[in-house]
């Protein structure tokens, strides 16, 4: 589980270092958002000069999958103390959900210990690796074109997300609508494309 997290955080740190944005925004984001896809979306889109509305909308749409994790864990968290119900959701990244959902039948206090241990481990590795990317970024020679790792990472996330025929339909529709709306200012075409893709995916799954 840690294996994909490390290169992701490294690419994110490099992307922040190579962008015209201050590193402070990157530091803040990796603890405030604590989600790689959403933060990389915010960093790359704002560095490209996208409008605030498009950046926020794209970042939030990326994160909507967390509703599923939250709904799945609601019964598990119901028996937990209040402080844990407030702190726990902060750590609920994809990998955290994947690992800890295997232990939901444990007694509440042992689930809580496991959840916090795993969450803190991911958090520490994530922050340290983003910081490493921030430090290494300016040192690496420009000919290595490490900034190219950002579009590659999005391509990797895209192929990982296409796990069914309707998902493929969704991706093709989203790409086509985004292509057709490249002229829309502030990159709002991303949001239009995303909603078109979601609608197409739902339509394809009902056939």
């Amino acid at each position: 589980m840690l294996v994909p997290v490390v290169p992701f955080a490294l690419v994110l740190g490099l992307a922040i270092a190579e962008s015209p944005l201050p590193n402070l925004v990157g530091w803040l984001g990796s603890s405030l958002i604590f989600g790689g896809s959403a933060q990389l979306t915010v960093v790359t889109l704002s560095a490209e000069g996208a409008g605030l509305a498009a950046v926020v909308a794209a970042g939030l749409v990326v994160q909507t999958r967390h509703f599923m994790y939250s709904a799945a864990f609601a019964p598990v968290f119901a028996g937990q103390p209040s402080w844990f119900r407030w702190l726990g959701p902060y750590f609920l990244i994809d990998q955290q959900f994947a690992l800890t959902s295997l232990r939901v039948d444990d007694p509440p206090d042992s689930f809580r210990r496991y959840y916090l241990t795993v969450g803190l481990a991911f958090w520490v590795v994530w922050q340290a690796t983003v910081a490493l990317g921030l430090v290494v970024g300016p040192v690496v020679p420009g000919e290595w074109s490490l900034d190219f790792a950002v579009p590659l990472l999005f391509v990797g996330l895209l192929t990982a997300a296409i796990d069914s025929r309707p998902a493929l339909v969704a991706a093709v529709a989203a790409g086509a609508v985004t292509w057709a709306t490249l002229g829309v200012p502030n990159r709002l075409g991303i949001v239009l494309g995303a909603f078109a893709g979601i609608a197409a995916g739902v339509g394809a799954s009902r056939r």
Binding site: A38, F67, F148, P151, I190
Partner: protein, 104 residues
């Protein structure tokens, strides 16, 4: 608004929104579940958003995209499709880019 202000405001907004989504059902909606139609729609968020981002970032910028870049992204796509491994996508894509640039 400068780029940095947009990034800062967006980071705070997306951070608050992310926590709100992660805690939504744990706090406010504890006795409810996601409607099946919403659950269905959420399954297509990731492929849609990622495809939109790849197209917009790849073709919407001012910088020209060369053949080496397109080839490297294609290799990354094939590797990701076959292996579903993010590290392998990065290694294969970067290696392709470096090899093509050295050869051309």
């Amino acid at each position: 608004m400068t780029l940095s202000v947009v990034a800062l405001v967006a980071t705070v907004a997306v951070g608050i929104g992310t926590y709100a989504m992660r805690s939504s059902f744990i706090h406010a909606l504890a006795d409810r579940d996601l409607p099946p139609a919403v659950r269905e729609a959420l399954r297509y968020v990731a492929p849609s958003v990622m495809a939109a981002l790849v197209v917009s970032l790849g073709f919407g910028g001012s910088a020209g995209v060369g053949w080496a870049e397109i080839a490297a992204l294609s290799v990354g796509g094939v590797v990701g499709w076959r292996t579903r491994s993010l590290p392998l996508v990065l290694v294969a894509g970067m290696a392709t880019l470096w090899a093509l640039r050295a050869a051309l």
